[in-house]
């Protein structure tokens, strides 16, 4: 058997794989341009003149993405070209809308001096810094599986930390999910989520065969064994515990959904989906019965107008804003998005829908869709199982979160207090999501990189050319 040149049919068949960094650069430029135009429109509409620091802002924002792009070029040259621009446009749009809301606050009460947009920009810078660090440190995503259990532990600690702290340091609006230190508030849950996803991916890769094959028949369904069922139950119980102690309905829904889907993908057994659905339904019903705040949330969701002066006020204002915005929206600066309480974070999608209209809101949904589908595509083509699961978990995390948040804001689902990734004001969420994207970029680089040709196999002794040994 003669040695072949490579063992990867892909490289042989198609020639050199295009890196597509040029596409990425062009799209990034486009995203930065749209962001700047949006900023300009906001300022011109509301104050009549461009903001004084427009040049500084533009330079800074462009520099952030230039740095990110250069880092990708150097350390992940084969990465998917759409990931970064989608994130750039979403975060840029978020900055524009937050700035617009800042201006609205100043118009109404001229004594307000705190501006959130510059703070968000700082967090974005931190996010890009994390992005760079992750890409540089994690050269091969497979190394993460070695730290799986450590990451799980750290993640759980982070998740539980706010519960252990007194309410003064950890509670906002009834949810104990914060850690307030030195004037800053961070949500450790956002980082814990990523750690836990890495853990799930590593664990499932190890146990997937057992989970898939060893099973018992119960009521006509192939169910996995009890000992294998263990992790799912643990995950479920943990989620509910988070809910109980921290009153964070959204995060438990998020984690639960992500884990069930990862389980399904890893084992290819749809029975997991059914089990998951059943557990969720059971848990939700119990939660509804036991917890008042869950009950209020559901009642308010079913008929927000009946509660329009109390708990439903936020939802009603959001619906008013969206309905008034209509197809084309009121225009940036033309609506009253500030009438929705907490518009900068929880309800930023309502502000987008009101001012940019249905077209704008759908455009944002499509941007998320691009991000998610590119992540899922990465998981399809990456070669190792861990990478597949990790990419799928991360991508689905974004998808699920966006669905739950936007669903809540538009009245499709009850409100959950989750943040809108990249768009909403919130440091921890932004920085953590940049970390998430860094991981996706890393995995997509591995996925699209042509395989290193295997070294030519050593010729067996029998095939070696005979040597004439000279005396």
């Amino acid at each position: 058997m003669t040695a072949g040149p490579t063992t990867d049919p892909r490289a042989a068949a198609t020639g050199p794989v295009p890196k597509r960094r040029g596409t990425e650069l062009a799209l990034l430029g486009f995203a930065v341009l749209i962001t700047l135009v949006a900023q300009l429109i906001v300022d011109l509409t509301i104050t009549g003149a461009p903001r004084a620091d427009l040049a500084t802002f533009s330079a800074w924002f462009a520099a952030l993405w230039a740095v990110a792009h250069l880092v990708v070029r150097k350390w992940a040259p084969y990465a998917d070209p759409l990931l970064l621009p989608a994130v750039a446009l979403l975060s840029g749009l978020g900055l524009a809308v937050i700035h617009r809301l800042d201006l609205a606050a100043e118009q109404i009460d001229s004594t307000v001096t705190r501006e959130d947009a510059p703070v968000q920009l700082l967090w974005a810078t931190l996010g890009i810094a994390l992005f760079v660090v992750v890409l540089v440190v994690v050269r091969d995503h497979r190394m993460l599986s070695r730290y799986a259990y450590t990451l799980a532990l750290v993640g759980l600690v982070l998740l539980a930390l706010p519960a252990a702290l007194p309410a003064s340091l950890s509670e906002v609006n009834g949810a104990k999910i914060w850690i307030r230190v030195a004037g800053f508030s961070i949500q450790p849950g956002e980082f814990a989520k990523i750690g836990l996803i890495i853990f799930f991916a590593a664990y499932l890769v190890n146990k997937r065969d057992v989970l898939a094959l060893a099973s018992r028949r119960v009521m006509g369904l192939e169910l996995p064994r009890g000992r294998d069922l263990g992790p799912v139950l643990v995950a479920w119980i943990l989620s509910i515990l988070v809910l109980v102690f921290e009153r964070d309905l959204g995060s438990s829904l998020l984690l639960f959904g992500i884990f069930v889907v990862m389980l399904y993908v890893a084992t290819e057994r749809s029975s997991w989906l059914l089990i998951g659905l059943g557990l969720f339904a059971g848990g939700a019903l119990i939660a509804y019965r036991i917890f008042d705040h869950v009950q209020t949330r559901v009642d308010t969701w079913l008929d927000p107008f009946a509660y329009r002066d109390e708990g439903g006020y936020q939802m009603v204002q959001s619906l008013f804003g969206l309905g008034t915005g209509g197809l084309f929206g009121a225009g940036l600066g033309g609506g009253r998005p500030d009438q929705v309480p907490v518009a900068k974070s929880d309800f930023i999608a309502a502000a987008v829908g009101e001012e940019l209209g249905l077209f704008g809101l759908v455009a944002v949904i499509v941007l998320y869709l691009i991000l998610v589908e590119r992540g899922l595509r990465t998981s399809l083509i990456v070669r190792d199982a861990f990478g597949k699961l990790l990419a799928a978990g991360l991508a689905f995390a974004v998808a699920w979160q966006v669905f739950v948040v936007l669903g809540g804001v538009t009245g499709l689902l009850p409100l959950t207090g989750l943040t809108t990734p990249f768009l909403a004001y919130g440091g921890s969420s932004l920085v953590a999501n940049f970390g998430l994207v860094a991981l996706l970029v890393r995995i997509s680089d591995a996925a699209r990189r042509p395989a290193v040709p295997a070294p030519a196999p050593m010729p067996t002794l029998g095939d070696a050319p005979t040597e004439v040994v000279q005396p």
Partner: protein, 478 residues
């Protein structure tokens, strides 16, 4: 793992499609419902952000929007607010809008379908949407004379052009300043509204079109019309007893001040109207019968139906008549007969226009922001109140009222005025009416003056105001 991955990808697609469909449902399907909800102040804020169209009278803006620096980009101003308050109404952040600001809101705020083309181009050029202008039929000289005449009393004046139905004057007192209710200062607005609430008579009530009052003797014009249509002539002698005992009762109907209408208790129709003989007309009404009276009244517009001019006008009605006694009292404009001052003017206008009652209207033209006329009101016949012959006879009789009878104070130098006075009893002091038109041979203005609880007679209280209004109008050479 690829197979489940693909399914997950499809599931994500389905979830996001759900989001899009739901967003569509809210932002398109439910858009109108959400916009018009009472709790939604965005629409109001949106309207306030636009340059609202002006309300124009005789080339002058009586309501306009001026740009301001604050959050709400435009301030609504009413130069001469107190003069035109009954016509313009107000445009208030807190209390909404009334009168013309409300009736023509779609044009003024720019959302009227007739302004659509311009709105579409605005969409593409990004121009701020502007409202259209509303040009009214009113005459400033008439309005000023009317408000001056009503100064110090509670009442209303309505003046119409009998040939077309165009409203020349619409006044109601007491009045108020709409500027105070349309400012940007919510506290000031509320304070002013509280002040108005505390007044004995609310100035925001437009008495010309939103309240009905017993017309008293003015209604005798309608009864006369019914008589003339049924064989009577102006010189037909009718019974005019000193005192009339209402059939089936012991109640005695008297004339004004207990006087006698005629020495021999018989009088011609024209004389009975001239001195406004109650007993004659009560008996006349009884003789004609309820059906004829009601039917004639309906042709003059007293049909109980509200109208839009485009301001909303409440309906005028002759009320329930259960027996002849009530019929008699109704025939002198008491009992349950209730009319708006506008209806009073319509009675005069019908007679003035050869029996043809034209539909009253206030909006002459609607204009786009670039001044092109996008709609014009064409005069319309509301009903054939009576025949030309009867109208001529009525005119003769009404001239007599002014020249020889109770309407003397309405005489204008050099112009023949026709009219009828009315003094209506009610809970308080008597109401005072005068309706008339001029010049009698070729009328160009019909007017109704109503003074609530004036205490005097229609002749001394209301007729002089009518004279001033007519004089002001005719002095301008129409």
């Amino acid at each position: 793992m690829n197979a489940p991955l693909r399914r997950v990808a499809i599931a994500v697609l389905v979830l996001f499609t759900l989001l899009i469909v739901n967003a569509n449902y809210i932002q398109v399907v439910r858009s109108d419902e959400l916009r018009s909800d009472q709790g939604n102040t965005r629409v109001l804020a949106e309207e306030y952000n636009r340059e609202r169209g002006s309300i124009i009278v005789d080339g002058t803006e009586i309501a306009l929007s001026v740009p301001t620096d604050d959050v709400l980009n435009y301030l609504r101003q009413y130069p001469d607010g107190r003069l035109w308050a009954a016509v313009t109404g107000y445009y208030s952040l807190i209390y909404g809008s009334t009168m013309m600001e409300d009736a023509e809101n779609e044009v003024l705020s720019g959302s009227d379908p007739r302004l659509t083309f311009r709105r579409l181009t605005d969409l593409f050029t990004g121009r701020d949407p502007q409202g259209g202008d509303v040009v009214l039929t009113l005459d400033p000289a008439v309005q000023r004379a009317a408000m001056a005449g009503l100064d110090g009393v509670t009442g209303a004046v309505v003046a119409l052009d009998p040939r077309s139905g165009a409203v020349l004057g619409l006044a109601s007192t007491p009045t108020y300043d709409p500027n105070e209710l349309s400012s940007h200062d919510p506290d000031a607005i509320r304070a002013y509204a509280a002040e108005l609430d505390n007044l004995e008579r609310d100035p925001r009530l437009n008495r010309a079109i939103r309240e009905t009052y017993p017309p008293g003797s003015v209604f005798k014009v309608v009864v006369s019309a019914a008589a003339l249509e049924n064989g009577y002539e102006p010189d037909t002698e009718v019974p005019a007893p000193d005192v009339l005992t209402l059939p089936g009762t012991r109640t005695e109907l008297e004339n004004f001040g207990g006087s006698d209408c005629a020495s021999d208790e018989r009088q011609s129709l024209i004389d009975a109207l001239t001195i406004s003989c109650n007993t004659a007309f009560a008996q006349l009404g009884i003789d004609l019968g309820e059906e004829r009276i009601r039917e004639t009244a309906e042709r003059f517009g007293i049909d109980g139906e509200p109208r839009e001019i485009p301001l909303e006008v409440v309906g005028s009605d002759i009320g329930e008549i259960n027996n002849d006694a009530e019929l008699g009292v109704s025939s002198i404009g008491q009992q349950d007969v209730r009319v708006t001052p506008l209806q009073g003017a319509m009675i005069a206008a019908a007679v003035a226009n050869d029996g043809q009652l034209m539909a009253p209207y206030m909006v002459d033209q609607v204009r786009a922001p670039d001044l092109t006329v996008i709609d014009r009101t064409e005069p319309e016949v509301l009903s054939e109140a009576t025949s030309q012959d009867v109208a001529n006879d009525l005119t003769e009789m009404m001239i007599s009222v002014v020249e020889n009878g109770s309407g003397g104070a309405a005489r204008v130098d050099g112009v023949q005025v026709a009219g009828k006075t009315g003094t209506a009893e009610n809970a308080g002091a008597d109401h005072n009416w005068f309706v008339g038109f001029a010049p009698a041979d070729n009328p160009t203005i019909a007017v109704a003056v109503f003074v609530a609880n004036g205490g005097g007679t229609g002749g001394d209280v209301s007729a002089p105001i009518a004279r001033d209004v007519i004089a002001a109008y005719l002095e301008r050479g129409r």
